[in-house]
Amino acid sequence: MTDEFKYAVVCVDDDSAILQILNFQLSKIINDDTVLIECFLNPQIALTAIDELFESGLKLIFVIVDFQMPYLNGAELILSIKEKYPQLPCIMLSGQANQTQVDNLKDNNLLTAYLEKPWTESDLKKIIDIQTQGYLSVK
């Protein structure tokens, strides 16, 4: 099954509308059948899913994470991800982020990019293009 996918991108946001938009925009921007776009409403489930994706042999290109989430906020989630996968690029998406926590991530070079709400597709594309360079041919 996974032989068709080579790469994966993970999105995490507790708001399903935002997640739907992200899913749509990412498929459009990336436009590559070898990239699996996985979306999660629950950050804890996302954490275990990332492990599973790695185990199934997929190359994770990046993770997009919303800041404001129940149980585990974006900053905490990124910290957990970086602990296990320090090389995995993480992108923060938020309309209202705890500046201290975000600054802390930035200071430690844990944050690849920061996307403020409300964003536009072209804002997202700029970031994604950089991340996908070398992996795919972006259209």
Partner: protein, 1205 residues
């Protein structure tokens, strides 16, 4: 087995110490058996003791019997039954009785009770037994009486033993002390333990002597300081505890002869009474017999001396005689020289011969007397003519006849020149005259011719000699006897002669006692003085000064042996005088009393110990105080002088009843020890408690003195009272604890439940001793609850740790409560499960509260970080609003708004912006598909399908899509064989993306049969996506609108002026704003009279209704059935009341008061900024109105009461 035998041996030893076996009958015991038989209503009662072989009967009632072999004895079984009496109701059918039926008085014993008689160490010595010949039973009351009597027997035994015990034994003192003052320690000056009270050992078996006290106890005081103040006479109450901290003691310290005595009382411990032990010091009965021997010896000595003086006389006389004899011999020499010479010489010779005292005679060869001198005649009482010519043998005493015949024969045969002879004559009066002398022989022609005898009368001398010999023998005998006695004695017996102090005799034991050889005693009169301990020398000298005037002294002092051992000795010295009253002998006895002295000193120590720890007094039989110790004075505040002679009831506090003292007197006057707690009154009126033991001293069956030993228990009593108060205090706390609390026994039965656990008193009390299964049965509910809790309990037992779980409690009003339950084990000191404590905490509230705190915190943080952004973004978007805000609101209000705005606006705006972009893109795709690839029917189908189910499966995980796609390809390839694998794969994926499910067979067939399958599927997918984005935009727009509404409602226009506002119009305008939500979804019911007018701020009232209605709409969102909003108003003379009802779920009572707090929100997301109801509260306050909230399962109602202006 060995241990059992040891135990039995010990038991018999103890029994023997009572000296009861084979003793004669005693009335006291017989009275008891009679009483016991009467109580039990039985024919036979016995008091018996069991030794190795038999049951020996001390007293019997109803039968004449003295002993029973042990193998037949029921009592032997009884003494092995631990504590409990042995009761055999039917001996013939009792499994414990293995022997053949036993008979007494020729009848079979059917019923038997044996109550073991225990000594203080719980050793059964014998029994009080009851026998009947019919099988029957005994009432528990009667049995109890019999047990009491059995105790009485034992007390009688103890008294009897005490009475008979008059010899000091350390064991007994120890025992007495241990019972009385169970905790004492004696330390040496290095604080090493010398002696330990047995109870201490019992309490702390590791305590050993010769170890420092600090190894076993934590002293809570400076021991040196304590000793100093004890020496200074200031005793203080001190405290210490065992190193393992399980026991704390109160103690006092005293210092005696460099020994430190610590008498202690365990704090809050029972103090046992003293036993009646008659303690006397050893009397020297043995010594008297030694003195007796001494006097015998002295009388012998006297005789010896008498005979010696006699001897002196004799000796003197002897020497005179000797002198005479020599003179005679010289004369004889002379005679011999001149004998046969001249006539002159003959005459001279004749004169000498007749003048001498010697008996001189001449005999011929036949023994015929030829000549005798005058002395001879005089001595023998004969005349010359009666003698001469007769045989000499006629005058020889019969005793000497044979002897004379022999030496006469010798004389004839051996022809000596002279012969020494020694024989007896007999005189005319028959008296025996003993003679000694010489016979000078004359020979002619070798034939005996003549013999001249020169003999001396030695009768008198011989008599004296014989007396002397006899006396000497007698003395020797006496001396031997004395020496034997002396040598067999441990005591040293000695005598010195006066006035020169020359040693006369000393027994061998002096070597052992003093370690000094006998020669030194004999040679050096000062030996004894040199042996005295230097510290005692002065005292000995002063005390022995009176020896010569009194004739007798008794001293006790220490000696130092050459090996530097220190011994205590006792000496008794006596002066023996002669008939003239002049002392000539000093004699004495010295005994080693080291052991006794040590005991005495120890006894003094112990006594001091008791005196310093206990309150001691002695009264006479009427209760008049005759002795009181310092402690007694200290606590009673009376002086000794004031107490002595007073009746003991001077201390009566009036607290105890008359019966209390009657019982006490009855007990002690009958010889029993009484103990109890007494409240006394001191001189100054203060009251104190003492634990008293009163010990009667009996003389001829009557008490003549009472010894009272008491311990101050005021503190203990007060502690007890305090404990009681504390107990009540803790019970109060437990009963009022707002959390469920229950205590379980190890078998999971309830021991305690607090009212929070079970409210109903009746049920709570019922549940004690029951378990959860009983509870379920009582409540008529499923046992699932009990099973679950039992499982947790078993887990606790298994894991030995706290177990916790969450539990849902359904309240009576049907509301759910989340409870965190914990149960934890409590173990006793042996590690056994003692109890289990369980408690429940309601966590729904706690969780909410925690979330609120976190939320509030985050929002405040958000305020700070987003303040700038808010100002820049929102001022542009809503200039009017932000202007009014900055103008009219304090910065705090801005902050409050900002928190809600930031996230809530940005998120929906993101969706709106991007959703519309996406929608645009999708519509473009659709148009392309529509124009080129699809039919009108297909378009209609796609639109219709997309609008039926907008919200479901908005997006699906990529992997899930893969899985679905794979399923589809399996399904399709089986059914539509004319497609290639790649085609099937592509078309399957399209099906999945179009959200068509595998069971929609008809639709799948239809699409597969179309010529543009893929295009059609793409169309369906796109239209669905489009629809969902439009839906998403719609939702997001609404959310943005709500946020804007919030902002609008928050405006506090301070410039607004109060006016008369028409209520119905005002509320209607609010409903218009909410129109989009109210439409179709909510049934609105308004009952407001057109005429009602409120004097207030138009805009604020608008805000008020908006917030309440918004709140109501949100509350009803989750309603499955009808949503109902009821708004009504009523008017009286003074008030206007507006009521807004909704049928959303009830607000939990504990959350109701929080509703009006800022940032409180029951749910996250959508438009909930947590501000709405706080705004409501502000507006209500501005209007001087009141708001009431009532929330039931049916309706939640806000009622606002306005006062009319």
């Amino acid at each position: 087995m060995h241990k059992l035998m040891e135990k039995e041996e010990k038991r018999i030893d103890v029994l023997k110490s009572y000296a009861i076996l084979d003793s004669g009958p005693e009335d006291e015991f017989d009275e008891i058996t009679a009483l016991a038989a009467e109580i039990a209503d039985a024919p036979i009662a016995l008091i018996s003791f069991i030794d190795e072989k038999r049951q020996w009967v001390k007293s019997s009632f109803g039968i004449e019997i003295s002993e029973i072999p042990r193998e037949n004895s029921f009592c032997s079984i009884a003494i092995n039954s631990i504590e409990k009496p042995l009761i055999i109701n039917d001996a013939l059918n009792d499994p414990r009785i293995v022997n053949t039926p036993y008979q007494l008085n020729n009848e079979l014993v059917a019923f038997y009770i044996g109550i073991p008689l225990f000594d203080s160490n719980k050793i059964a010595l014998g029994t009080l037994s009851i026998v009947d010949f019919k099988s029957r039973e005994i009432s528990s009351k009667d049995l109890k009486s019999l047990q009491t009597i059995a105790k009485g027997v034992m007390r009688l035994l103890e008294l009897r033993k005490a009475k008979e015990n008059s010899i000091l034994e350390l064991e007994k003192i120890n025992k007495a002390l241990d019972i009385n003052n169970p905790f004492y320690l004696i330390l040496n000056s290095n604080f090493e333990i010398k002696a330990i009270g047995k109870s201490f050992i019992k309490a702390n078996p590791s305590i050993a002597i010769q170890k420092k006290i600090t190894e076993f106890f934590n002293l809570e005081f400076d021991i040196n300081a304590a000793i100093e103040s004890s020496i200074a006479g200031k005793s203080r109450v001190l405290f210490f505890s065992s190193t393992n901290k399980d026991q704390r003691y109160k103690c006092s310290i005293s210092n005696i002869n460099n020994d430190i005595i610590i008498t202690a009382q365990p704090i809050l411990n029972e103090i046992l009474p003293i036993k009646n032990y008659n303690i006397t010091l050893n009397d020297f009965s043995q010594h008297d017999s030694i003195i007796e021997y001494l006097f015998l010896q002295q009388s012998a000595q006297k005789s010896l001396n008498e005979s010696r003086s006699l001897m002196d006389t004799v000796t003197q006389r002897n020497s005179e005689l000797e002198e005479q004899k020599k003179q005679i011999e010289r004369n004889q020499e002379l005679l011999r020289a001149n004998l046969l010479n001249t006539e002159n010489a003959k005459e001279k010779y004749s004169n000498i011969v007749h003048a001498t005292n010697d008996l001189i005679s001449t005999i011929d060869k036949n023994g015929t007397i030829l000549f005798v001198n005058d002395s001879w005649l005089k001595k023998m009482g004969y005349r010359e003519d009666e003698v001469v010519g007769n045989s000499i043998f006629k005058h020889v005493h019969p005793d000497s006849q044979e002897h004379c015949a022999v030496f006469f024969q010798d004389l004839m045969s051996t022809s000596p020149e002279q012969l020494e002879v020694n024989y007896s004559l007999i005189n005319r009066h028959g008296e025996k005259i003993e003679i000694e002398g010489t016979i000078i022989c004359k020979y002619e022609q070798n034939q005996f011719f003549e013999g001249n005898s020169f003999l001396t009368d030695v009768t008198e001398i011989n008599n004296l000699r014989r007396i002397e010999e006899e006396k000497a023998k007698e003395i020797l005998k006496s001396k031997e006897k004395l020496e034997t006695v002396m040598d067999s004695l441990k005591e040293t017996v000695w005598g010195v002669r006066l006035p020169d102090y020359k040693s006369e005799f000393i027994s061998n034991s002096a070597i052992d006692l003093y370690g000094i050889p006998l020669e030194r005693w004999i040679n050096n009169p000062n030996t004894w003085l040199e042996a005295i301990h230097p510290d005692d020398l002065e005292r000995v000298e002063s005390e022995s000064a009176s020896l010569f005037s009194d004739g007798f002294t008794e001293l006790e002092y220490r000696i130092v042996t050459p090996k530097n051992e220190v011994k205590w000795i006792q000496t008794r010295t006596k002066i023996v005088k002669n008939a003239d009253g002049i002392p000539y002998l000093m004699t004495g006895i010295a005994a080693d009393i080291t052991k006794r002295k040590k005991l005495e000193l120890e006894l003094i120590d112990y006594k001091k110990g008791i005196d310093s720890a206990a309150i001691v007094s002695i009264t006479d039989e009427k209760g008049i105080i005759i002795y009181a110790n310092d402690k007694f004075c200290e606590i009673s505040k009376y002086s000794v002088e004031e107490l002595i002679g007073q009746n003991h009831n001077i201390l009566n506090s009036g607290y105890h009843s008359k019966e209390f003292f009657q019982e006490m007197w009855q007990t002690i006057s009958s010889g029993n020890i009484w103990k109890g707690e007494v409240k006394n009154k001191a001189k100054d009126g203060s009251e104190y408690y003492v634990e008293s033991s009163i010990i009667p001293f009996m003389k001829e069956g009557k008490a003549y003195q009472y010894l009272s030993i008491r311990y101050d228990s005021t503190e203990k009593v007060l502690n007890k009272l305090e404990l009681e108060t504390q107990k009540q205090f803790y019970e109060f706390i437990l009963n009022n604890l707002p959390a469920d609390l229950a205590v379980f026994s190890p078998d999971h039965k309830y021991l305690f439940i607090n009212p929070a656990g079970i409210k109903n008193n009746e049920i709570r009390n019922f549940m004690i001793g029951k378990d959860d299964f009983d509870y379920c049965q009582l409540k008529g509910i499923d046992t699932k609850l009990a099973v679950e809790r039992r499982t947790k309990f078993n887990e606790l037992i298994r894991e030995k740790k706290f177990i916790e779980w969450e539990d849902v409690n359904i309240l009576e009003n049907g509301a759910k409560q989340n409870i965190l339950r914990k149960i934890g084990p409590i173990y006793d000191e042996y590690g056994d499960l003692k109890m289990v404590i369980g408690y429940g905490i309601e966590i729904t509230e706690r969780k909410t509260a925690e979330e609120n705190v976190i939320k509030a915190k985050k929002e405040v943080e958000a305020i700070n970080s987003n303040l700038k952004k808010l100002v820049s973004e929102e001022t542009q978007k809503n200039l009017q609003l932000s202007k009014s805000l900055t103008e009219n609101e304090k910065m705090a209000t801005v902050g409050e708004l900002a928190s809600g705005i930031a996230h809530d606006l940005n998120t929906p705006l993101s969706s709106i912006r991007n959703g519309s972009e996406a929608a645009h893109f999708t519509v473009n795709s659709i148009l392309q598909e529509l124009i080129w690839k699809c039919t009108r029917e297909q378009l209609n189908f796609a639109i219709q399908r997309a609008s039926t189910d907008i919200e479901s499966s908005i997006f699906t995980s990529g992997l899930e899509l893969m899985r679905l796609s794979k399923n589809f390809s399996v399904y399709l390839s089986a059914k539509f064989t004319n497609y290639s694998e790649i085609e099937i794969k592509e078309i399957s994926s399209a099906f999945v993306r179009a959200r068509i499910e595998i069971n929609e067979e008809e639709l799948i067939d239809q699409i597969m049969n179309a010529s543009n399958s893929l295009n059609f599927l793409k169309l369906i997918e796109n239209i669905q996506t489009y629809q969902s984005f439009v839906h998403s935009i719609e939702i997001s727009a609404n959310r943005a609108l709500n946020v804007v509404n919030d902002l609008r409602l928050n405006i506090k226009n301070q410039n607004s002026i109060k006016s008369h506002v028409n209520l119905k119009e005002n509320i209607s305008s609010v409903l218009n704003v909410f129109n989009f939500e109210l439409e179709e979804k909510v049934k609105v019911d308004i009952k407001i009279a057109d005429s009602i007018v409120i004097y207030g701020y138009d805009i604020k009232l608008f805000q008020l209704w908006s917030n309440i209605i918004k709140n109501a709409l949100e509350a009803m969102e989750s309603n499955k059935g009808e949503k109902l909003l009821k708004i009504s108003a009523s008017e009286t003379k003074d008030t206007i009341s507006v009521s807004i009802k909704n049928n959303g779920p009830a607000i939990p009572i504990e959350n109701q008061h929080k509703i009006f707090e800022k940032f409180y929100s029951t749910k996250r997301g959508l438009s909930s900024s947590g501000l709405g109801m706080s705004i409501v509260k502000n507006i209500i306050t501005d209007h001087g109105a009141k708001i009431l909230l009532e929330s039931t399962d049916l309706f939640t109602t806000f009622t606002i009461n306005f006062k009319k202006a």
